[in-house]
Symmetry: C2
Subunit: 129 residues, 2 copies
């Protein structure tokens, strides 16, 4: 692809993901920015989030239902999604050894992997139904 230009929109979008600090979705990023900059386009938010994830500046965390969530925390970690409230939390763990063995043994060219957990978060555990 061609040269990537720096725009104020890009900066706003990146800052929003960092500022929100909640594994934000494109929609949440848009709302956050639109408060101060209502002229930003939702398409611009979607485009840039995807582009930044592609470039490795953000992480598209592999939550497998609903909207795509982005993370500014680039060190290897995993995610837990609450089935009641939908919140996403960080999970640490060391899978490196098993993953490496799988990579070596595989006939495919594995370049990435994603581990996510689901269940009921500590906040929702106490609530009835």
């Amino acid at each position: 692809m061609a040269i990537r230009r720096n725009t104020i929109q890009k900066q706003l979008i990146f800052d929003a993901v960092v500022g929100l600090n909640i594994h934000a979705t494109a929609e949440q990023v848009y709302e956050y920015i639109a408060k101060e900059n209502p002229s930003i386009s939702k398409a611009t938010v979607y485009r840039n989030l995807a582009q930044m994830a592609e470039a490795g500046e953000l992480l598209n965390i592999g939550v497998f239902y609903g909207a795509t969530h982005y993370d500014h925390n680039l060190h290897r970690h995993y995610h837990f999604v609450c089935s009641k409230c939908g919140s996403v939390f960080d999970i640490d763990g060391d899978f490196a050894c098993t993953i490496n063995k799988i990579k070596e043994d595989s006939q495919h060219q594995i370049t990435d992997y994603n581990i996510s957990f689901s269940g009921v978060c500590y906040k929702c555990k106490g609530l009835k139904s």
Copy 2:
């Protein structure tokens, strides 16, 4: 929930997932069935796949872009998605020990987890661009 009734649609849908044997999507299941039974509704396919996954009769494999894929292989295994052709392949591996430690240590009530790999599959590896 109420009693689940047995219908010919349910059977057709389950058989389609088994028969296709390709980690099929709802759309693929629909197409497969509609060849012989064009009167089946797409909504019925979506509803039943979700219900069977909920009931543990099928597995909703956590591929995190595009449509939901279903698997009739219920033993614990993982998936690899090719970024070029989108095919889904099975991956084996033993994460039980690490997962158990994470479950024990977590403040959340972890009931499920999903591990998926991505990259270029053995078929697409040789192809240019």
